[in-house]
C-alpha cells in the first residue's frame, strides 16, 4: 500500500477548490477542469428560480397589515391598544412568519441542491465565499424572507463579473437595505426631514443611520483600519440617504428605490475627495471609488488567499492577487485565474479546516447524493453551528480553523455523520469509496480504522470524520 499522504492535484482541485469529490471519475487536468467551469456555471439553477417571490410576500403582508389597522377598533380610553395587537393582526403576523420560515427552508434546500449537482463546483464555492463576504444575517422575519433571494439575485449573477457590479447589486438589495437599516436613514436637512420639522415632528425621528455606510467601508470594500475616519463614515452615510425600499406608491414596491426627498443635499467629502453629484449618483460614485481603491484590493486578496492557501495567507500571494484586482479593475474571473495559478494554493498538505457547511456538502457529495431529499439542511447547519445565512453579524462567518475545530463542534459532526450514513451503509463500501473521494489524500491510519470498523456504517461515518476529510 503506498504510504502517500500528499494530496494529489486532483484531490486539491476537487476538495480545496471545488465542493468535494463525488464517486465520479477524476478530472484529467485539474487546473483546466477549474477554468473550464467559468463557461459551465449556471446563474439561476431551477431550484433557486422556483423560490416563491419574497418581495410579493412581504408587500402582500404589509398591505394586509395596513388594512387590518384601518379596521382595528379605536383603543378603549385608559387602556391603549398597542399597534398590531388585535387578534386578526396577530394571526396574520403568525401566518406570515410561518410562510417566511418555509421559504427560508426551501431556499437553503435550493442552495444545497445547487451545491450537489452543479457543473461548476469551484464557481459555486465562490458564490458561497461572496455571499459570506457581503453577508446579511437572517435574524428577523423580513431579512429571513429575502436571504435566499439575496444570494440568487445579488451574488450569483455577478460571481463571474466585476467586483464593482456585485457591490452595487448587494447594496441595493432589499435584504441588505433592511439588514443594515439603510431603508430608514433620512438626511437631516433633506426636504422630508425639514417638512416633518415644520409640522412639529420630533427631529430625532427623522435622521441618519450610518450602519450600512460603515459596514460597506469596513467589511465590503476598504477594510477596517485602512485609514478612514468617523467623519468619512458620516459623510458617506449622508451620501447614501435616499437609498431605500420602495413603498406602495413606488414603481417597484418592496424593491430598491431612490427617494430624492430623503436625500441630504450638498457636496460630500469622503476620504479627501469631494462628491458634488446630486441624488442617487452621489453614493454610487463613492462606492465605485471604494470598489477600485487599493485598500479594497488588499482586503479582498487577503480574504481570498486565506480561503485557499491557509489561515495565515502568504503575503506574496496576497500581493499578487491584489495586483491582479487592481490592474483588471476588479475583474473576478481574472482574479480566480490568478488564484488557480498560485502555487501557494496547491501545497500538497491540507491547508484549511472545513466549515460545517463545507463539510456537510462534501459529505453528501462523497456519498453520491444528488439531492438533499428529506434532509433538512437548515436544521442540520443550525445543529452543526453554522446556520445558513445567519452568521449573526455583518462580518460573516470566520474563515479560520480556530473557529471550527472546537470540542463540541467535532462531537456534533461525529453524531451527524452516524445519522447521515445509517440508510446508506448497506449500499456503499467505505473501503472502496474513501480512496476515491480522497485521492492520494487518505492516510494509512484512516484506511486502517475504516477497514477494521465494527459495521459498514461505522466505517462510512469514520471516513467522513477522518482528519483527511475534515480538512481540505
Amino acid at each position: 500500500m503506498p504510504l502517500s499522504t500528499e494530496l494529489s492535484p486532483a484531490a486539491i482541485a476537487l476538495n480545496r477548490f471545488g465542493l468535494g469529490a463525488t464517486p465520479a471519475p477524476l478530472p484529467g487536468d485539474p487546473r483546466q477542469w477549474l477554468t473550464a467551469q467559468f463557461d459551465r456555471f449556471e446563474t439561476t439553477p431551477p431550484a433557486f428560480a422556483a423560490l416563491p417571490d419574497a418581495r410579493a410576500m412581504l408587500t402582500a403582508y404589509q398591505e394586509q397589515q395596513r388594512e387590518l389597522r384601518k379596521q382595528a377598533p379605536p383603543p378603549a380610553p385608559g387602556s391603549p391598544m398597542p399597534p398590531g395587537k388585535t387578534p386578526e393582526q396577530k394571526l396574520a403576523r403568525r401566518d406570515f412568519g410561518q410562510d417566511v420560515r418555509a421559504l427560508y427552508g426551501q431556499a437553503v434546500q435550493a442552495r444545497t441542491q445547487s451545491a450537489l449537482t452543479t457543473p461548476a463546483p469551484f464557481v459555486e464555492r465562490m458564490v458561497h465565499f461572496w455571499s459570506n463576504h457581503f453577508c446579511v444575517s437572517a435574524d428577523d422575519i423580513p431579512v429571513t424572507a429575502f436571504a435566499g433571494a439575496f444570494e440568487r439575485d445579488a451574488i450569483r449573477p455577478h460571481v463571474l463579473g466585476r467586483f464593482e457590479d456585485m457591490v452595487l447589486a448587494v447594496e441595493r438589495h432589499p435584504a441588505m437595505l433592511m439588514y443594515l437599516n439603510q431603508n430608514q436613514s433620512i438626511g437631516p436637512n433633506s426636504p422630508a426631514a425639514l417638512r416633518a420639522q415644520q409640522r412639529g415632528g420630533n427631529p430625532r425621528k427623522q435622521g441618519l443611520n450610518e450602519n450600512l455606510a460603515r459596514e460597506i467601508m469596513e467589511l465590503h470594500t476598504l477594510g477596517v483600519r485602512s485609514g478612514y475616519t468617523q467623519a468619512d463614515v458620516t459623510e458617506f452615510a449622508r451620501a447614501m440617504t435616499g437609498w431605500t425600499i420602495g413603498g406602495p406608491n413606488d414603481d417597484a414596491p418592496g424593491d430598491f428605490a431612490f427617494h430624492p426627498q430623503q436625500h441630504e443635499p450638498g457636496t460630500r467629502m469622503v476620504l479627501g475627495k469631494a462628491y458634488a453629484q446630486q441624488g442617487m449618483d452621489q453614493a454610487r460614485a463613492v462606492m465605485a471609488d471604494f470598489a477600485h481603491a487599493p485598500a479594497t484590493a488588499t482586503h479582498v486578496a487577503t480574504k481570498l488567499a486565506r480561503h485557499f492557501a491557509g489561515d495565515n495567507p502568504p503575503p506574496p500571494m496576497v500581493t499578487r492577487l491584489a495586483n491582479v484586482f487592481q490592474t483588471t479593475r476588479g475583474d473576478l474571473p481574472s482574479l480566480y485565474k490568478a488564484l488557480i495559478e498560485s502555487p501557494e494554493a496547491w501545497q500538497p498538505q491540507p491547508l484549511k479546516a472545513k466549515t460545517p457547511w463545507e463539510w456537510t456538502v462534501s459529505a453528501l457529495r462523497a456519498l453520491g447524493r444528488n439531492e438533499p431529499g428529506a434532509l433538512q439542511m437548515a436544521a442540520i447547519q443550525q445543529q452543526l453551528g453554522q446556520p445558513v445565512w445567519k452568521p449573526g453579524s455583518p462580518a460573516g462567518w470566520d474563515d479560520t480553523a480556530a473557529s471550527w475545530i472546537a470540542p463540541d463542534a467535532l462531537m456534533r459532526r461525529v453524531e451527524f455523520a452516524q445519522r447521515l450514513v445509517a440508510p446508506l451503509a448497506s449500499q456503499i463500501d467505505a473501503r472502496r469509496l474513501a480512496p476515491q473521494v480522497l485521492p492520494g489524500a487518505l492516510t494509512p491510519a484512516a484506511q486502517e480504522q475504516i477497514a477494521h470498523a465494527e459495521t459498514p456504517a461505522s466505517a462510512l461515518a469514520l471516513m467522513l470524520v477522518s482528519p483527511d476529510f475534515l480538512r481540505r
Binding site: 436613514s185 468617523q230 449573526g392 475545530i405 470540542p407 491510519a445 461505522s458
Partner: protein
C-alpha cells in the same frame, strides 16, 4: 449633583429571547472560587441600561427612546435601572450587584469586530495579542486534574490560548456508537489539533450528563451553574450573548434582551445555591452607543458603556462612576459617552479579588500592553475560606 474628576460611588437605596447564542466556555482550575464572564456582543447601550436620569441632557438626547425615570428602578440619586431588570435590581438591593459606568476598553474606534477583539484579547489594538485574557487568567491558577472544559460550538477569543479549554452546547442528535467513538479517538490520537479538542469534548459530555438540553436563557443559566458546581468541574466560564446592536427598534429589542439576560443571571444564581457566595459575574460589552438617538428609533456605535458586577460576595448596591456628563462639550467626539473608567482596570481588580490573586500581578499578566492598568479594587468582600 455630580462632579467630574471625583471618583463617586453612590450607595444604593435598598431596595424574551436574548438571542443568546448557546455559547458557553469553561475552564477547570483548582480553586473553590468561580468567575463568570458574560460578553454582550454588538455594543450594548449603557445609557439605557443604567440610566443617568439626573443628567439634564439625557432626556433630550434620547427623545422618545429615553427611559421614563418613573418606570425605571431607582438605584441612587443619579442612576436608575432599566425596568426589565427586575432580578438584577433585587440583587442590587441585596448589595450583590453593582455597576461601573462610563467604562471602556482601550479601543476608541467603532468597529464591533475590532472592539470585541480588544475586549477579549486584552490588547490595546485589535489583533495585536493572539490569546485571550481569560485564558491567561486560567494560567495564573493552579491547574485542576481534568482539562479545561467549554460549552459552545466554538471557543470564544477571550478563552483562546495555551490553556486547554473546551466547549459544550446542548445537542439534538443521537449519541454515536461506542465503536465509532473509540475509533474516532484512535484516529485523532496523532493529530495535534483534533486530539485535544476530542479529549475535551469527551470530558464535557461526561460533565453535562443529565443536564437539560434546552437553549433558552434560564436553561443556559442553570446549565452553567451545573458545570460550575461539579466537584471537579470548571471554575471559570464564559457566556456569549448577541443581539445588542440596536440601530433601530431599540425600545422593544433592548427590553427583550435585558429580560433574557436578567432571567439567565437569576437562574445562574439560583442554580449555584451556596456557591453563589464564591462566585463573581462580570457582564461587559465592546463599546457603548451614541448618546443621542439616531433617526431610526435606535442608537449607533459609540464609546463608553456600563459594566455589571454580580455575585454573593461583591460589595454591591452602588454605581461606580466618575460621571463625565452628557452635555455636548462633555461627550467624546461630541457624540458618545466619554469613558472615565478603564475596563482593563476593572477586569484586573475584579478577577484578582474574586480568585484570591494579587491584583497588580493579574493586571500585568492580563493586560501587558495597556501599561498594566492600576487595578480597580475594593469590589469583592472576603470570600469564605480566604484569610
Amino acid at each position: 449633583m455630580l462632579h467630574r474628576r471625583h471618583f463617586l460611588s453612590f450607595a444604593g437605596i435598598g431596595a424574551g429571547t436574548l438571542l443568546v447564542a448557546p455559547h458557553m466556555a469553561l475552564a477547570a482550575v483548582e480553586t473553590e472560587r468561580r468567575f463568570v464572564f458574560i460578553i454582550q456582543r454588538g455594543a450594548a447601550d449603557g445609557l439605557n441600561i443604567v440610566v443617568p436620569y439626573a443628567d439634564p441632557a439625557y432626556a433630550s438626547l434620547r427623545g422618545a427612546l429615553a427611559i421614563d425615570p418613573a418606570a425605571a428602578i431607582r438605584l441612587d440619586g443619579t442612576f436608575a435601572l432599566h425596568p426589565a431588570l427586575k432580578e438584577t435590581a433585587g440583587m442590587f438591593a441585596q448589595k450583590q450587584a453593582m455597576f461601573v459606568h462610563a467604562v471602556a476598553s482601550p479601543y476608541r474606534d467603532r468597529s464591533h469586530f475590532d472592539g470585541q477583539n480588544v475586549l477579549e484579547t486584552g490588547g490595546t489594538q485589535a489583533y495585536q495579542v493572539k490569546d485571550g485574557w481569560l485564558n491567561r487568567l486560567v494560567t495564573m491558577l493552579p491547574k485542576a486534574r481534568d482539562t479545561a472544559i467549554a460549552i459552545a460550538p466554538t471557543v470564544p477569543a477571550a478563552l483562546r490560548g495555551p490553556m486547554q479549554v473546551t466547549s459544550y452546547a446542548p445537542s439534538g442528535l443521537p449519541t454515536p456508537s461506542d465503536d465509532l467513538m473509540l475509533r474516532v479517538g484512535q484516529l485523532y490520537a496523532q493529530d495535534s489539533q483534533l486530539h485535544p479538542a476530542w479529549a475535551a469534548a469527551l470530558d464535557a459530555r461526561q460533565l453535562a450528563d443529565g443536564s437539560g438540553a434546552k437553549q433558552d436563557p434560564a436553561s443556559l443559566g442553570r446549565l452553567t451553574a451545573s458545570f460550575l458546581t461539579k466537584p471537579h468541574g470548571p471554575r471559570i466560564a464564559m457566556l456569549e450573548t448577541g443581539g445588542w446592536d440596536t440601530h433601530s427598534g431599540q425600545e422593544g429589542r433592548l427590553a427583550n434582551q435585558l429580560k433574557a439576560l436578567d432571567s439567565l443571571l437569576a437562574a445562574l444564581r439560583d442554580g449555584l445555591g451556596p456557591v453563589w457566595n464564591q462566585t463573581t459575574v462580570l457582564v461587559a460589552t465592546e463599546f457603548g452607543r451614541t448618546a443621542a438617538a439616531n433617526g431610526t428609533g435606535g442608537t449607533d456605535h459609540g464609546t463608553g458603556s456600563v459594566a455589571w458586577v454580580l455575585g454573593g460576595a461583591v460589595k454591591g448596591g452602588r454605581v461606580i462612576a466618575d460621571w463625565p456628563g452628557l452635555a455636548n462639550n462633555q461627550l467624546y467626539e461630541n457624540r458618545d459617552l466619554r469613558p472615565t473608567a478603564a475596563l482593563d482596570a476593572l477586569i484586573a481588580g475584579l478577577a484578582a479579588e474574586s480568585l484570591g490573586l494579587d491584583p497588580d500581578r493579574v493586571a500585568r499578566r492580563l493586560f501587558p500592553l495597556a501599561g498594566s492598568p492600576r487595578p480597580l479594587t475594593g469590589l469583592v468582600g472576603a470570600l469564605p475560606g480566604v484569610a
